[in-house]
């Protein structure tokens, strides 16, 4: 017997029943408030608008302003979003600092907190700390590596290349499925480029080879062909290392391919362009209303006949309607909304102080939307199972609470109290259902790359979107618009192209 058990008189227990339901009301309200996060959509629209207006500092200010709104559950997401905007704003050191924090937090999140998991099970997955998908985690290190190259800290950029290698190794050990995301062609390719720039040809060759194999293996779902320069990179490094067998194999695989020897490139300077094109996909809720009685089925059909979309106002109607009926469980699943870029090739021109301009055309190396799609597809069975179990549990709790309140209220008030508690608890079960729609949304839709060797000297960088010289310049930090390169030196340029 619990000490809080009421005396068995109808009057007292009726009061008790109301008392509990008032408490419940507060709890439900509190949870509803916790679960709501409508402003994130707004935030990303503002960031997009700033980037379109060539104002990366403004975009960064929006992320920074919202730091509290991200909350402690989305520390990693904040680091990711801000790391990107800071990089675009040319604040490479700060960008690295926030990305490093995100990475450390990620490390801590390996240990799951049971109480957080339980809370998430009672409400929805947005109560869980955001870890990001594996491809996003790899991109943390990619962005850091790029930051270090732009700061001229090549040794530190290589540290990131080694971390990418380690992260991918752990990932492929953990993932049994052959077709899953367990390797990253772009991250490997970039690592190879960094190794080669710093003179480590052996590691460069291994990275190029891994990249080539990954691009080939994941072609079906990544929609990313092998970059046109990668075969030359393989041939060049294999030759320089005197790997005769590998060289022969690649010569056979790429017949007729010509390449510059590693020695002849030593006296030239190198320019690598990374172009972030468009916007990453966003996620939205997809609701499934599962009727668990014939009446409820009719209600769902009728309701769906009247209201089509899942606007918040309709959700309010659903909440009351299904709460009254009491036999509908709602399951929310995330759905990906691609925001494909219209730019397929970016053209850059390097104009030397004297001599002919050099034109660079970028090509697709990383299809973020395809990766997000793959990641969601891989996680969806797990998410669905959990959502169904959660819906069933919420329904059972609501049913128990309604019956309990009815009993407590006694004969006369019973039905009314039961209805009220049922409306609240079952309404809560419907209203609190929300899919985890968080994702690294400051990422681009596609990442493009171009690489070229030029005679040492001073260059003006001119960028034109979509190959039209008249279109406005893309987003590139001011400092990157002039380059001064000595023999054997390299420069990495990063730009954002928005349409």
């Amino acid at each position: 017997m619990s000490p809080i058990a009421p005396r068995p008189t109808a009057l007292v227990s009726a009061r008790w029943g109301f008392f509990i339901s008032a408490n419940f009301l507060f709890a439900v309200l509190a949870l509803l408030l916790l679960a709501g996060c409508g402003s994130s959509v707004n935030r990303y629209q503002l960031i997009d608008a700033s980037l379109r207006a060539y104002d990366p500092k403004g975009a960064d200010a929006i992320v920074q302003r919202d730091e509290k709104e991200y909350g402690e559950k989305s520390l990693v997401l904040y680091g990711m979003d801000r790391g990107m905007t800071l990089q675009l704003a040319g604040e490479y050191q700060q960008s690295n600092a926030v990305l490093e924090q995100a990475e450390e937090e990620l490390d801590r999140l390996y240990t799951r907190r049971i109480r957080t998991e339980t809370l998430a099970f009672m409400t929805n997955d947005t109560a869980l700390p955001y870890e990001g998908d594996p491809y996003e985690q790899v991109l943390i290190n990619v962005l850091k590596a790029l930051n270090y190259t732009m700061l001229g800290q090549w040794e530190d950029a290589l540290v990131e290349a080694r971390r990418i290698d380690h992260r991918l190794n752990v990932l492929s050990d953990r993932t049994n499925e052959k077709d899953a995301y367990r390797e990253d062609g772009f991250a490997r390719y970039l690592s190879g480029i960094l190794y080669e720039i710093t003179g480590d040809l052996n590691d460069a060759f291994i990275a190029y080879r891994n990249a080539y194999e990954t691009f080939e293996a994941t072609r079906a779902w990544s929609h990313t062909p092998v970059p046109t320069q990668l075969p030359e990179d393989l041939l060049r490094t294999a030759e320089a290392l005197h790997f005769t067998q590998e060289l022969a194999e690649y010569r056979q695989a790429f017949p007729g391919r010509k390449w510059e020897t590693s020695q002849s490139l030593q006296h030239l300077a190198q320019v690598v362009v990374i172009s972030y094109n468009g916007r990453a996909p966003r996620k939205e809720d997809q609701f499934l209303d599962l009727p668990i009685s014939l009446n409820a089925l009719q209600l769902v059909l009728l309701n769906r006949g009247i209201v089509q979309s899942n606007r918040p106002s309709n959700r309010g109607v659903d909440t009351v309607l299904y709460g009254l009926n009491g036999h509908v469980v709602r399951v929310a699943l995330p759905r990906l909304v691609p925001q494909k870029t219209q730019v397929h090739v970016d053209t850059l021109r390097l104009i030397p102080d004297n001599g002919m301009p050099v034109t660079l055309n970028t090509e697709l190396v990383h299809n973020v939307t395809a990766l997000a799609d793959k990641a969601l597809a891989e996680r969806l069975p797990g998410i669905t199972t959990k959502a169904l179990a959660r819906a069933a549990t919420k329904f059972a709790f609501a049913e128990a609470a309604t019956r309990g309140a009815q009993q407590a209220a006694g004969h006369d008030a019973g039905p009314w109290v039961g209805l009220l508690v049922g409306l609240l608890t079952k309404g809560f079960a419907v209203a609190s259902e929300e899919a985890d729609k968080r994702s690294w949304q400051t990422l681009p839709d596609e990442i493009h790359l171009a690489r070229v060797w030029v005679p040492p000297g001073r260059y003006q960088v001119q960028s034109s979107v979509g190959g039209f010289p008249d279109s406005p310049d893309s987003l590139m930090p001011e400092a990157m618009r002039t380059l001064s390169l000595g023999p054997g030196e390299a420069a990495v340029l990063v730009q954002r192209v928005m349409p």
């Binding site: 619990s2 408490n23 240990t111 109480r115």
Partner: protein
């Protein structure tokens, strides 16, 4: 009985809600700089100091030092070159180099000259003295002591990880190279192995 269940349910709900907002407190304790503090498993001050101390001590015990002293009748002059970081961490190589320099200087067995970065600053100072300082206090160029040996090396890591357990293996290689003949007179190696275990779930 049902009433009682509902009461319990309410309590559980409240308990869960209140647990979710547990406050974190910060506590600071001062410790001696010699105390080993292994927090994250990454390369830390203790590693840097311990490796520098033991390796310099080892380097100075080898016969090259006495051979040089007996043939040239003076202490050898040593400079610290680059220590390359080829690990998985952004190790502050400068603190390690400073640790090495300190140990070498304090050993009193070698004469230690400033490294590349410091030299630039000193030369600029001398150039400025030539223009602005009183003649009798000016320091003339071309009087630097050329080093006989250079100490250089690498910090590398090998990482292995599965199911929350990570083994980090640090290998620090240092070598003393004769600047005249490129002969390596001493080669030292120090290994540190750490195992970091992370729990999968806590309450």
């Amino acid at each position: 009985m049902i009433v009682l269940d509902r009461g319990r349910f309410g309590l559980v709900m409240l308990a869960l809600l209140s647990l979710a907002g547990c406050a974190q407190e910060t506590r600071i304790t001062r410790v001696d700089s010699g105390v080993v503090t292994d927090l994250s498993g990454r390369w830390n001050d203790t590693d840097s100091r311990m490796v520098a101390e033991s390796m310099v001590k080892e380097a100075l015990e080898y016969p090259w030092l006495n051979d040089f002293a007996s043939s040239k009748r003076r202490q050898p002059v040593v400079v610290v070159g680059t220590i390359q970081n080829s690990s998985h961490e952004h190790i502050n190589v400068n603190t390690f180099v400073t640790d090495l320099e300190r140990e070498l200087t304090n050993s009193q067995k070698v004469t230690f000259v400033a490294g590349k970065g410091d030299r630039e600053e000193l030369r600029t100072e001398r150039k400025e003295q030539a223009t602005y300082a009183r003649e009798d206090t000016q320091k003339a160029p071309g009087k630097e002591i050329g080093a006989d040996y250079m100490m250089k090396g690498t910090i590398a890591t090998i990482l292995d990880e599965a199911d929350g357990t990570k083994a980090v293996f640090y290998q620090v290689d240092l070598q003393m190279v004769d600047l005249e003949s490129n002969a390596k007179v001493w080669y030292g190696q120090k290994k540190i192995k750490k195992v970091v275990e992370k729990k999968r779930s806590i309450f």
